[in-house]
């Protein structure tokens, strides 16, 4: 630690202690806000779809049998797409039914330029919050590192049905803080000009969410 940092730290802490000389003892926070959802799974699912559609993302409901076909359809015939190393192969379209597939691995990560040249990315997700329409990526094996779901312009994201919860506290409880977290609620957007919402700035401009039963 440099001399500057040591002395600055000591002084700031001393200033704080001086400022707190009145020794105020605030009451402990009361957490009587909703921490557990009360809606049934069907309502939660409808709420989630309502919210993500509101953000101009598209929503689909598929089963283990139909998910690969849906992903193929969303990708289109010749979309070069990237998937993380741990993405389940069963969920992916077979050879020939979609464009070139590139797997991003820890040993051979794609460069930013390579990621910029692909058309789409397909990932899974850790947990999703219905009340806010938010999907949480937690850098798991089927989600990959942050750059792969950021640079490609089209993000197809699988939300396993059992990972859908109603409230924000429930979602955060399922997050491992030691790995990076990206929460996304629809495509990137800005309201900076006259508060008119524009979907699609720097992050993926197209977001498709597949709820997997």
């Amino acid at each position: 630690m440099s001399e500057q940092t040591t002395s600055a730290k000591a002084e700031i802490l001393a200033r704080i202690r001086g400022a707190l000389a009145d020794n105020s003892q605030p009451a402990a926070p009361v957490r009587d806000y909703r921490q557990r959802g009360s809606a049934d799974p069907q309502t939660v699912r409808e709420m989630f779809i309502d919210r993500i559609v509101d953000y101009k993302a598209r929503a689909f409901i598929e089963t283990a049998e139909t998910v690969a076909g849906r992903i193929a359809e969303l990708l289109g015939e010749d979309a070069r797409h990237v998937v993380p190393e741990g993405f389940p192969v069963d969920w992916l379209p077979g050879d020939g039914s979609a464009g070139e597939r590139i797997v991003d691995t820890a040993d051979q990560p794609l460069s930013n330029a390579e990621l910029d040249a692909v058309d789409a990315v397909v990932t899974s997700s850790t947990v999703s919050c219905a009340e806010t329409g938010t999907v949480f990526l937690n850098a798991g094996p089927a989600e990959g590192r942050r750059a792969i779901s950021l640079i490609p312009d089209h993000h197809i994201c699988v939300v396993p049905a059992e990972s859908l919860v109603e409230l924000v506290p429930e979602a955060l409880a399922r997050i491992d803080h030691r790995r990076p977290v990206t929460m996304f609620s629809g495509p990137s957007a800005t309201s900076d000009i006259e508060l008119q919402r524009v979907e699609g700035v720097h992050g993926p401009r197209k977001v498709d969410i597949i709820i997997l039963d």
């Binding site: 600055a8 802490l13 009361v30 806000y33 910029d116 409880a173 790995r179 996304f184 000009i193 720097h202």
Partner: protein, 620 residues
């Protein structure tokens, strides 16, 4: 640096872009004439208020979340030394480096050194109030390093050579045509047929910045929250420029005010609900990033956080004013403020405008610095800011407290050296580079300082005399009565139309911006004395109004009123309308008022009306 004794409060004020160069009234008077600004702001503020009210009213536990948010922040301040040390330990254990900065200059110098170590001359920036506060961009520029603002609004402000006017939407004073003109003028190679459509303008920004995201190896960010327990940092954003800056570079430098620390990771569940709904009126902002130190193979491997005081400990020392440090920079208070909506953000001088800026800036700099003593008066004390604040900062209370502090400071200044008031300390003026110094010096030399200085010398004389007279009169009814005999003089001042448009001297403040009605010919006390004998005798129980019957007669009217006022989008207008209606009821019968109040608290109302109900409930 001298040794600091524990327990001996050492107040050190902040530097950087926290100063009003001129009194608020001067800036406001100028900007009020800017019709484009007023039009843009009026439109935008109404829209954002409506959005906020709609998404807040969806939350059945909004008041519980507010209370929890406020209590967590109070505890953060009480435990600040321990939490900061815990944060430092956690962040370091996760592979990051922690730096401490006493003020803006020190924070900027640390950042410059870290950037120079990487050998680059251009860095990307995420929108950050802390770096605006320290004047980092100007500081880096003076040292040959370009800071590229990547948030669209900040980009517009930067390319336009402008200043931000709002915490969350800094270019809100610009309309789409102005943005297009700025882009055409400032972006090399932009398509010449660029339209004013926000979609087109966002595309132009995407094209300009994409290469910079991929190529620049260093990024600078602020932080919405830092978790002591885990060392986790958080950025809440919309466009993905934040994700780009947090993911693609090798080095990430985060500016974080010391008050931004939260004890536990789970505390995010409160603030990630409060912030987006209060700020942009969204259920959730498009992107939130959390990172805990270095993750091999994912994101920057060289992580730094600079913990900044810069006047925060000075604010903390004030037992009433310290709640300003609860602020999570959502801007809800700006969006409901009738003063901000008309004057705009630039009139406040500091990077923190609006109601929160009016209590934060003077505390961080000290009330005597520059023209910051004018900021606590930039409010009608209507209380709307307190009602929407997601962490329950009682802004009106602190404003009144700071007005008191200002009067006291002026008294003290008059007793010692009057010419010192209004002139910022030399160290403050040199805070953030040459241009800042030049501007401040210019402001000091010209009207700003003279005005403040003059007011400081004049106010205690007349104001003290007036207050002393009022004190005596109100203490002695006989004296007050004699004074009230002078009321017919007011009639003469009012002339034929009964209006007074000019008063001299200090009381001229009453007529500077308004025309007032002439006072009545006699005071109420005199009228009462003359008329009370003619009031009816006490009524018998049979003659008295049947309160229960009145309540019954008015049942259901509150719900009906709500149905009528719930339809328009603008919650503020509706609130005002409802209050007016409430007053009419009061005129009719006190019982109806009781019924009205009960109705607003208990009746099931439409979604967009529910928030107003809670506001009323809390005020009651």
């Amino acid at each position: 640096m001298t040794t600091v004794n524990l327990g001996m409060p050492t107040i050190r004020h902040g530097r950087g872009n926290l100063f009003a160069d001129e009194p608020f009234t001067s800036g406001a008077a100028r900007d009020l004439k800017n019709e484009t600004l007023r039009g843009n702001l009026n439109f935008a503020m109404r829209k954002i208020r409506g959005k906020r009210a709609a998404v807040v009213s969806e939350m059945p536990d909004w008041q519980q979340l507010r209370a929890a948010g406020s209590a967590i922040k109070q505890n953060v301040l009480a435990d600040l030394p321990e939490l900061l040390e815990q944060f430092e330990a956690s962040f370091t254990a996760a592979g990051g480096h922690v730096h401490w900065a006493r003020d803006a200059d020190e924070a900027n110098a640390i950042a410059l050194r870290l950037i120079q170590e990487q050998g680059v001359n251009e860095v990307n920036k995420i929108k950050s109030m802390a770096t605006q506060e320290t004047g980092l961009n100007e500081y880096l520029e003076a040292h040959g390093i370009t800071a590229v603002e990547t948030d669209l609004a900040e980009e517009i402000v930067q390319l336009g050579g402008d200043k931000p006017s709002h915490i969350v939407v800094p270019a809100i004073h610009r309309n789409r045509d102005e943005v297009r003109d700025i882009f055409l003028r400032e972006i090399d190679g932009v398509r010449s047929d660029l339209t004013s459509e926000p979609t087109d303008l966002a595309d132009a920004s995407r094209e300009r910045l994409r290469a910079k995201f991929f190529d620049n190896r260093v990024a600078v960010s602020g932080a919405n929250f830092g978790i002591a327990e885990t060392g986790t940092l958080t950025i809440v954003e919309s466009e993905g420029n934040g994700r780009m800056c947090l993911t693609l570079p090798d080095t990430l430098i985060t500016f974080m005010g010391i008050e931004k620390v939260l004890p536990r990771f789970a505390d995010l569940e409160v603030f990630l609900q409060l912030l987006p709904r209060s700020s942009t009126g969204e259920r959730m902002n498009p992107y939130t990033s959390l990172w805990t130190g270095v993750t091999p193979g994912d994101g920057p491997q060289n992580l730094h956080v600079i913990l900044i005081d810069n006047g925060r400990t000075a604010t903390l020392a004030d037992e009433v004013g310290r709640q300003a440090l609860h602020c999570i920079r959502c801007s809800a208070c700006l969006n409901v403020c009738p003063v901000f909506e008309r004057a705009g953000g630039h009139a406040y001088g500091s990077v923190y405008p609006g109601p929160i800026g009016a209590i934060l800036s003077p505390q961080m700099t000290g009330i005597e610095a520059a023209a910051n003593n004018s900021l606590p008066y930039a409010s009608s004390l209507c209380g709307a800011c307190y009602e929407v604040c997601p962490v329950k900062i009682n802004i009106p209370d602190v404003l009144v407290h700071l007005r008191g502090a200002d009067v006291e400071a002026r008294h003290n200044a008059r007793r010692t050296a009057p010419e010192a008031v209004g002139v910022p300390p030399a160290t403050d003026a040199s805070a953030s580079g040459v241009s800042r110094r030049a501007r401040l010096t210019a402001a000091v030399r010209t009207g700003a300082a003279r005005t403040v200085g003059a007011v400081a010398r004049r106010v205690p004389d007349q104001m003290d005399a007036l207050m002393a007279a009022a004190k005596t009169a109100f203490a002695k009814p006989g004296l007050l009565s004699v004074g009230e005999r002078g009321l017919p003089l007011g009639k003469i001042l009012g002339g034929r139309d009964g209006k007074i448009s000019f008063l001299p001297g200090l009381i001229g403040g009453w007529t500077r911006h308004r025309i007032i009605d002439a006072p009545p010919a006699q005071s109420f006390r005199h009228w009462w004395k003359r008329n009370r004998t003619r009031t009816p005798v006490r009524r018998t129980p049979e003659q008295r109004a049947d309160i229960a019957a009145l309540i019954e007669a008015n049942r259901g009217k509150a719900a009906e009123l709500h149905a009528r006022f719930a339809a328009p989008a603008d919650d503020y207008t509706r609130l005002m309308a409802a209050e007016r209606t409430g007053i009419q009821h009061h005129d009719a019968t006190g019982a109806a008022v009781a019924d009205y109040a009960r109705g607003t608290e208990t009746s099931a109302t439409t979604a967009s009306g529910a928030d107003d109900d809670r506001m009323k409930g809390e005020r009651a």
